[in-house]
């Protein structure tokens, strides 16, 4: 992993009038890394991305891409950056093909074989006017233009919300290809399985603040493992230390509960003395983490 971060954000703030949209955003993205940016609607994901693009001006903190200030040097930065917005709006009287070519030319690149391959992979009809495209097709136009570009930093803001599962897979493969070629990717998404599969590190934003960053493995330590166990005797699992949310299962002596990771070893040792007949443990999914952080509860 490269040592020089591509994107560095430090205590970024943004106020719209009296409303503090971003309170404290701090994270970085390195080369060869896919960074997942997750959070509920209205938490400030798109606002953060718009600050990074120089569309709006931060009211505090700093943000740099390639070591350059995102507001002052936006034009220079954008030469090596590709972006796909969440809601893609295209000029209605141009065709998809024309828009792709135009967007590429504005970056000093041109329509290449790769572009044609991507058009084919995503299954886009480039001769249709943008007015007639569905949401998914508009996203394909933006994705094809972004992937055809040879950038060093890619920003995707909920890029697959309108895509079908086949195209979602095409997208995921293209992102993994970027990662292998050492590019940095910032992926904001609501599709948690996608984030789980692709992202090396994750940042969770809530009410304008980054509340957690780290790899999924690191984050799992912060929550509990779900355990389903069937015992051979009448042992009452509620007496165990560090056990939460105990419910009785469908059969006799079957229990379901959550265990704090720090207590896992002790509990397993205790359970082993009570004739374990079946045991399943599931590590928390990203969805569990998501719920844990957003609702502030279990």
């Amino acid at each position: 992993m490269a040592t020089q971060p591509i994107l560095q954000i430090h205590q970024l703030q943004k106020k719209f009038g009296r409303f503090q949209a971003l309170k404290d955003i701090t994270f970085s993205v390195n080369a060869g890394e896919v960074f997942g940016f997750i959070g509920p609607n209205g938490a400030g994901k798109s606002t953060t991305i718009r600050v990074l693009l120089g569309l709006i001006r931060a009211t505090g903190g700093s943000a740099t891409i390639f070591g350059q200030d995102v507001w002052q040097d936006s034009v220079t930065i954008h030469q090596r950056l590709a972006y796909v917005p969440g809601d893609v709006y295209l000029w209605p009287n141009l065709t998809g093909g024309e828009i792709i070519d135009l967007l590429l030319k504005m970056n000093g690149t041109a329509h290449s074989d790769k572009t044609d391959a991507l058009i084919k992979q995503f299954g886009l009809d480039p001769t249709k006017k943008a007015r007639t495209y569905s949401k998914g097709n508009r996203q394909k136009v933006a994705l094809i233009a972004a992937f055809s570009q040879d950038a060093d930093f890619y920003i995707f803001d909920e890029p697959t919300s309108g895509l079908d599962p086949l195209n979602e897979r095409v997208f995921q493969e293209a992102v993994l290809d970027l990662k292998q070629r050492g590019k940095a990717v910032l992926l904001s998404s609501h599709i948690l399985s996608e984030v789980e599969r692709m992202c090396d590190r994750i940042g969770i934003i809530r009410e304008g603040q980054i509340i957690e960053t780290g790899s999924l493995a690191e984050m799992r330590h912060l929550t509990r493992t779900m355990v389903t166990v069937t015992l051979g005797d009448d042992f009452d699992v509620t007496t165990l230390p560090g056990v939460h949310g105990v419910t009785a299962g469908h059969q006799a002596h079957e229990w379901q509960f959550a265990v704090e990771d720090s207590q896992l070893a002790t509990i397993m040792a205790t359970l082993a003395q009570h004739q374990v007949m079946a045991l399943q443990s599931t590590p928390p999914t990203l969805e569990d983490l998501f719920m844990h952080y957003y609702t502030g509860k279990e």
């Binding site: 798109s46 718009r50 693009l53 120089g54 569309l55 709006i56 001006r57 936006s74 034009v75 220079t76 930065i77 954008h78 030469q79 950056l81 590709a82 972006y83 917005p85 809601d87 893609v88 709006y89 295209l90 000029w91 209605p92 009287n93 141009l94 065709t95 093909g97 024309e98 828009i99 792709i100 070519d101 135009l102 967007l103 030319k105 504005m106 970056n107 000093g108 329509h111 480039p126 001769t127 249709k128 006017k129 007015r131 007639t132 933006a142 233009a145 920003i155």
Partner: protein, 540 residues
């Protein structure tokens, strides 16, 4: 569920959605009509004042602008009022109706709102019917306000019948063009194209009435826009135009319903064709993007203004021939004097036309500048901003073409008037000389540029109030166009740049005023540009 199911609910929704625009239009139009009527006795109260203006109104030049009216017997204040105001108010009301009708139908459909509405238990023709009722109610309300306002103003010579004839005559004319807008919304497949079609037909009826008014006023019956002139409310009240407008409006609505039943949602009779697989080599940046998107509109505007000018030019031989109205003049004053007088009449006519042309030519420029902000809020520029394209470059990709379009349109329009006008004359020397033409250009361009500069300033610094530009332009146009007929005080004219220059080419260009107006336009653009570089961009 019938085809018109839940139209009532949609009508309420329409009024809730458009309440501000409707309120603004009604207040401005009713206030304009009532306040002018109120003041009119002071302007044209005495017989000598009436006699003076009567001669002016009978001249072909003024007829081309305000319509041909006939006077019988003793002319009253109210008759002069009807003559000056009817066509003018009719034009504004048509603009209002086209804007409201297309916004309420094709505009909603473009935004995908109609799809959402139609997914509920509403009739297939209900959105269209609701839009029609909205127009009926707005025009009806305006007609009533006109009738009440005129009755309250109580001008000498006004009759109760005449007051209500004006109200209902304007209401039905408005309705006719509003329903034309509804029909065009069904035929075209997006609102820009519907607006273009509707304005083309509006322009044709305007030009038809202008040419027939000057040459054969009887033929004006062939233009729906000419019907307002035939109301003759205070000398020979004629209700036929009201019934004609109403009948035509109903036919147009029937056609719109038929078209609506036959088409798919989101489609029109004129469908979008597939386009190019690749961008042309010329399409490579924000400037060429704007051209690619707006070239049809830009070319259409410039051509329309030129055609407008040429059409006005065709009446030069009628207007610039004093002998037609004063056959004895040549015997009294001699040929040289007559030619001199002809030239004076044409100069004065051209000066008034220059004001009209400048206002019309400013419209596409303002549209292009305001587009910079509309495109921004629609999210169409997000993809461009994310590229290595500076804000300065993007901003001037709109501002540059805007200034160029307005400038070319104005030069083309005035050129059309002068070239066609001079060609139509028997004595070319009576016409406008090349020097006078260039004076006319230099006289109005600073005004156009200051208006565009204000649009640039607002889009750059305070985009939320960008609509103010339209009001300001309208005020400028009305104050100069109607100013002398309504005898407005001079400060009203000086509120907008339209009044800062003397009438040109009737008078010579004041180069001091010219210089500081250009300077002001440049300052406005620079401040707007600095604001645009600093402010947050707005997104959906």
């Amino acid at each position: 569920m019938s085809r018109y199911g839940r139209t009532g609910q949609l009508i309420r929704l329409a009024f809730r959605r458009d309440r501000f625009r409707i309120l603004m239009w009604i207040v401005i139009l009713a206030a304009l009509m009532a306040s002018v009527a109120w003041k009119f006795q002071d302007i044209y109260g005495t017989q000598s004042e009436i006699a003076a203006i009567k001669g002016t109104l009978a001249s072909p030049g003024i007829m081309a602008m305000f319509g041909a009216f006939t006077f019988k017997g003793k002319v009253t204040t109210a008759e002069i009022f009807a003559n000056e105001m009817l066509l003018f108010m009719g034009l504004i009301q048509v603009v209002m109706n086209l804007a409201l009708s297309i916004h309420a139908t094709r505009g909603e459909e473009d935004l995908g709102i109609t799809e959402l509405v139609r997914a509920h238990a509403v009739g297939t023709a209900a959105p269209l019917a609701a839009a029609a009722w909205e127009l009926v109610i707005v025009n009806g309300l305006l007609g009533i306000l006109y009738g009440v306002g005129l009755t309250a103003a109580n001008m000498p010579g006004a009759t109760l019948e005449g007051n209500w004839l004006i109200g209902l005559g304007l209401a039905t004319t408005g309705l006719l063009f509003g329903f034309l807008g509804l029909l065009m919304s069904q035929i075209a497949d997006h609102s820009a194209s519907a607006t273009g079609l509707a304005y083309t037909l509006f322009g044709i009826s305007y030009l038809a009435r202008m040419i027939t008014d000057v040459q054969h006023p009887k033929l004006t019956w062939w233009s729906p826009l000419g019907w307002v002139e035939k109301l003759a409310p205070y000398n020979d009240a004629n209700w036929l135009p009201v019934w004609l407008s109403l009948g035509t409006a109903l036919i147009l609505f029937g056609l719109a319903v038929m078209a609506n039943n036959r088409r798919d949602l989101g489609a029109g009779a004129l469908t979008t064709r597939p386009g190019k697989r690749h961008a042309s080599a010329l399409l490579r940046g924000p400037l060429s993007l704007l051209w690619r998107r707006q070239r049809n509109v830009i070319i259409a505007w410039i051509l329309a203004v030129i055609i407008f000018g040429v059409a006005y030019g065709t009446v030069f031989n009628t207007i610039g021939d004093i002998l037609k109205t004063n056959p004895t003049m040549q015997q009294v004053f001699g040929a040289a004097m007559v030619h001199e007088a002809n030239h004076k009449v044409l100069l004065s006519f051209t000066s008034l036309l220059a004001v009209v042309m400048a206002a019309v030519a400013t419209i596409p420029g303002i549209q292009l500048i305001l587009k910079a902000h509309t495109d921004e809020t629609r999210g169409w520029l997000e993809a461009v901003y994310a590229r290595p394209v500076s804000r300065t470059r993007l901003f001037f990709s709109y501002v540059g073409p805007a200034f160029l379009t307005s400038t070319l349109a104005y030069i083309g329009g005035l050129g059309g008037i002068v070239i066609m006008g001079d060609a139509s004359l028997d004595h070319v020397k009576d016409g406008i000389s090349a020097h006078e033409f260039w004076q006319g250009i230099a006289g109005q361009l600073p005004e156009i540029w200051v208006f565009l500069g204000i649009a640039v300033l607002l889009v750059g610094c305070w985009p939320r109030i960008k609509t103010f530009t339209w009001l300001y332009l309208a005020l400028g146009f009305v104050s100069v166009y109607m100013g002398s007929l309504l005898k407005l005080p001079s400060w009203v004219k000086n509120v907008t740049p339209a009044g800062w220059m003397p009438r040109i080419p009737q008078h010579a260009v004041d180069w001091t005023t010219f210089s500081w107006m250009i300077g002001l336009a440049i300052v406005l653009v620079i401040v707007g540009w600095l604001g645009y570089r600093r402010r947050d961009l707005q997104m959906r």
